[in-house]
Structure formats: structure tokens, C-alpha cells
């Protein structure tokens, strides 16, 4: 409960900071609109040639695109800014200031930043999913909604754990900024259902980098193709990754020697 109170406090500070810059909201809105328009053009182009792509119809792929946008928004709003700040803190030795606070260190470094305006993508993604669900209303029921919520939660947890593990690597390697580039590239692979990739890439995107669980699996839930086994696997893997990330964080922390060392 303490963690949630802590998080809400940081969210409040983050929101107060960002609503001073209201024009940034407009800029973000325009950027999201441009990204959405581009993605829709790509979908239109694909479906001008074919009825299905790897077994996914137009509305189904639209749902996938919505999930991709929504999860991307979550990452940019909360996960990535915190991890970037953590990388900088390790580089500059300013992590000391976080570690001496009387709170759980992992919880604290994971909630310090909150970028309100990046949340526009969360809303845009949700609207796209909503529209896709409307088109798929024949097959969409409360079971699908529930499965989607569960799958999305697992995907977000996995991405957080994955980022924390990578960022913890900064205790050894110090310079990790280029990981961002690598991540952005790999995440963009989630715009297509992972099933159409060749096997080596499909398994890479599933188990090495949890893009499949973060995007394809929730989209499978929306389109009614998620099996109970996959969902159970996602929950198990999310739990394992969270535990592993926590262990690795404390393991890495022992290597940290502070600013003055």
C-alpha cells in the first residue's frame, strides 16, 4: 500500500509539473495524430492487396495496432522515463539520493518520473482498440474483456521487469543509452503479429524480448484467439520475471559504490 501512496504522490508532482506546459499537450496530440494516420495508411495499403495477414483480418490487425500504441504510451509515460533517470543516476553517482530515502529502493526508482502528456498515446490506443472491438462485436464478450485486461497487465509487468533488468546492467556497463535505440527498434517489430515471423525471430520476440507478450497476446485476447494455456503461461512468466528482476536489482545494487568512490 505504501508503494501505491508513493506512486500517487510522484504522479501528482509529475502532473503538476507538466500541466504548466499546456502547448506540449497540443504538440503531443498532433504527433500522435500523425503516427496514427501513418499507421492507418500502412494498414490500408496492406489490405488493399490481401484479405488477411498471417490469419489476421483488417479489424483484428487494427486491434493489434491499438494495443501497440497503448502499450507504447504506457512505456513512454512511466517505464522509460524512470529507467532513463536511473541510468543517469548510476552514471553520475546521484543514485545516492534515492538510496538514502527510507523507502524500498526498487519501488522508489520505478516511480520517480511521470510524463502526463505521453499518456495521449494510451488514450489514442484505447480508442483504436474500442473501434476495433466495435467491429468485432460478434466475437467480443466479457470473457475477452477480462482476458485482455489480464494479458495487458502481464505484458506491462513483463516489460517493466525486462527494462529493470537491462537498466540494472548499468551497474556493470555504465553507458547504456544505446539500449534505448535497440529497444525502440525491437518494439516496432510488435506492429505485426509475431506469428508471421520466421521461428528464430518469433521466439526471440517472445522470450528474449517480451514484445509478443506485451502486444500480440493482449491483441489475441481482444480478437478471441487467446487460449487459456497462453494466458496461464503469460501470468507465470510475468511473475517469474518480476521476481527475477527484483533479485537482480539487489544483486546489482551491491556493485554500486556511490558518487564519491
Amino acid at each position: 500500500m505504501n508503494v501505491i501512496r508513493l506512486w500517487l504522490n510522484f504522479v501528482r508532482v509529475g502532473v503538476l509539473g507538466e500541466i504548466q506546459y499546456r502547448v506540449n499537450f497540443l504538440v503531443q496530440l498532433l504527433q500522435s495524430a500523425i503516427a496514427l494516420a501513418t499507421a492507418l495508411i500502412v494498414l490500408a495499403l496492406i489490405f488493399s492487396y490481401t484479405q488477411t495477414l498471417g490469419g489476421w483480418t483488417g479489424p483484428e490487425l487494427l486491434a493489434l495496432m491499438g494495443v501497440h500504441t497503448l502499450v507504447g504510451g504506457l512505456i513512454h509515460m512511466s517505464i522509460q522515463p524512470n529507467m532513463e533517470r536511473l541510468m543517469q543516476d548510476v552514471q553520475n553517482g546521484t543514485l545516492d539520493y534515492a538510496l538514502i530515502k527510507p523507502a524500498d529502493s526498487q519501488a522508489l526508482v520505478s516511480v520517480r518520473e511521470f510524463r502526463l502528456w505521453q499518456g495521449v498515446d494510451v488514450i489514442v490506443g484505447a480508442l483504436v482498440i474500442g473501434y476495433a472491438v466495435y467491429q468485432l462485436r460478434e466475437i467480443f464478450g466479457w470473457q475477452q474483456a477480462l482476458a485482455f485486461a489480464a494479458a495487458l497487465g502481464c505484458g506491462a509487468a513483463m516489460i517493466y521487469a525486462f527494462w529493470l533488468i537491462l537498466t540494472t546492467g548499468a551497474f556493470w556497463f555504465v553507458r547504456m543509452e544505446n539500449l534505448l535505440e535497440l529497444w525502440q527498434g525491437l518494439y516496432s517489430a510488435g506492429r505485426a503479429p509475431v506469428g508471421i515471423y520466421p521461428d528464430w525471430l518469433k521466439y526471440g520476440l517472445t522470450f528474449l524480448v517480451p514484445v509478443a507478450f506485451a502486444v500480440t497476446v493482449p491483441a489475441e485476447a481482444v480478437t478471441g484467439r487467446l487460449t487459456l494455456e497462453t494466458l496461464a503461461g503469460a501470468i507465470a512468466l510475468a511473475a517469474a520475471l518480476l521476481v527475477g528482476a527484483r533479485w537482480f536489482w539487489f544483486f546489482g545494487l551491491r556493485r554500486y559504490s556511490g558518487a564519491s568512490a
Partner: protein
């Protein structure tokens, strides 16, 4: 002229040596970049297979060749980002640049050109892995290879000039994000970066013929991968030269105008 040549060679050497030191960083960057064409490649080969073999004249092997050469051309397209001008102005970098006796455009062209030398060396293993994974169909003639090697540098210069021109907007306003994104979206669709133009509807192809984007992207790829007739192969270099002159002239003109807006920050 000799001085300028010395400046270019020196700057290029510094950039190449520096970037070869940061091999891991460059590789992270380049591998992240490879994901994009792999998505396009897998999507369009899937469609080509479903359409009975080819889309817009490209078979699965043709798309593989297109998108593998794409990765090199994309790297040649990396130039000083228009977002970087805000930093140059805010940090006072620009004040230092203005004091030098050589136009700052030369500095950018030379530095990034040197970086390209490092990038091409680092790119070769990536291309080999992609070729093993996706089996491209490619059999260029010597003439096509020669034109390709000139055309990737032409592409580099076109994009340098265009993004310099775009970056100049920063001198008037710093809320440039949405504008730049709009430019990049147009470029994505009209340059051949997303798909070869022959896959696009005819009116998009028509539109792109009047724009510089495809000469900085699709043309070099097609020169190597496609079967352009000899006259079109060489004519393309002429079109590149034309766009370099047009965009370069506009960039220089905008620069002179922009610098008048500039009042130094820091230094």
C-alpha cells in the same frame, strides 16, 4: 580549395576513428534499426506469397534484396538531426561554429561522411546475417554496382541538405516536434522506405516523382536491386545532382536568413 579538402579529410578521419571506438554503441543502434525493414520484409513477403508470388513486381526474394540493401541506404540517410539544432542553440555550440572561417555545413557533411565509412564497415556482417536469414535474389551488373556506390553518397547529400533546411525552423520556434514528425511521415511514405513505390497506388507514385525523397532512398536501392534500363540508371544520378543543388541552395539561403535571428546563448 586545398584547405577545404584537408579540412574534409581531417574531419572524416576523426569521425571514422571515433565511431570505430564505439563499436558496441554503434551496433546497438544499427541492430535496433534492422527491426524496421525486417517487419516490412516479413509482411510483404507474406502478402507476395498469398498473392501467388509477387506484389508490385517484387517476389519474396526481391523484397529480401530490397530491404537488405535498404539497411545500408537507411544508414547513409542518417545525418545531423533537425532536433539537434535546439541543442546547438541552447548549449551555445552555435556561437563557436559561427567563429570558424568555414561554413558549418561543411563541418556536418564531413563529420557524418566520415562516420559513414565506419558504418559501412560495421554494416557488412549485419548484411551477411540478413542475407543468410532471408535469401535475397540479387544479381547486379558491374555498371549497377558503380552507380550504386555513387548513388548512396548522392542520397547522403540530398538528405543532409533537406534536414539542414528543416532544422533552420528551430531558429524561429522550438515547438518543432509535430512539424518534424509530419515531414518524417511524408518521407516514410513517399521515399520507398516503407515499400517500393511500385507497391503504392499510382497517384502516390505520381506524387513521389515530384518530391526529392525517393532519390535519397529508393533510387540507390533500385539501382542495385532492380532492373533499371541503362539510361534511367544514369539519369537518376542527374536527378540526385539536381536535388542536391536545389535543396543545398535553399539550405544555404535559409541559413543566412536564420543566423540573423540568432542571438547567442552561453558559449
Amino acid at each position: 580549395m586545398r584547405n577545404l579538402l584537408d579540412f574534409y579529410l581531417g574531419q572524416m578521419r576523426i569521425a571514422a576513428v571515433t565511431q570505430l571506438q564505439y563499436r558496441a554503441a554503434n551496433y546497438f543502434y544499427m541492430i535496433g534499426m534492422v527491426a524496421e525493414p525486417v517487419v516490412y520484409l516479413v509482411v510483404w513477403s507474406t502478402i507476395a506469397a498469398a498473392q501467388g508470388g509477387s506484389v508490385g513486381g517484387y517476389t519474396a526474394g526481391g523484397f529480401a534484396a530490397y530491404y537488405i540493401v535498404w539497411t545500408l541506404v537507411r544508414n547513409m540517410n542518417i545525418v545531423f538531426t533537425p532536433y539537434g539544432w535546439e541543442w546547438r542553440i541552447r548549449e551555445g555550440q552555435l556561437s563557436g561554429m559561427l567563429l570558424r572561417p568555414i561554413h558549418p555545413l561543411h563541418g556536418d557533411i564531413a563529420y557524418f561522411a566520415g562516420w559513414k565509412v565506419a558504418v559501412i564497415i560495421l554494416w557488412l556482417p549485419i548484411a551477411a546475417v540478413l542475407a543468410l536469414a532471408f535469401r535475397p535474389e540479387i544479381n547486379p551488373t558491374w555498371q549497377e554496382v558503380v552507380v550504386f556506390f555513387i548513388a548512396i553518397w548522392g542520397a547522403y547529400l540530398i538528405r543532409t541538405m533537406l534536414l539542414w533546411l528543416l532544422g533552420m525552423i528551430t531558429f524561429w520556434t522550438t515547438r518543432v516536434g509535430a512539424l518534424f514528425e509530419l515531414y518524417f511521415a511524408a518521407e516514410l511514405l513517399l521515399s520507398g522506405r516503407l515499400v517500393p513505390m511500385s507497391v503504392m497506388p499510382p497517384w502516390v507514385q505520381e506524387l513521389s516523382a515530384w518530391m526529392p525523397f525517393r532519390w535519397a532512398f529508393q533510387y540507390p536501392i533500385e539501382a542495385l536491386v532492380g532492373d533499371l534500363p541503362t539510361d534511367q540508371l544514369w539519369l537518376g544520378l542527374g536527378m540526385q545532382a539536381l536535388w542536391i543543388v536545389l535543396a543545398g541552395g535553399a539550405a544555404l539561403f535559409a541559413w543566412r536568413w536564420a543566423v540573423k535571428q540568432y542571438s547567442a546563448v552561453g558559449g
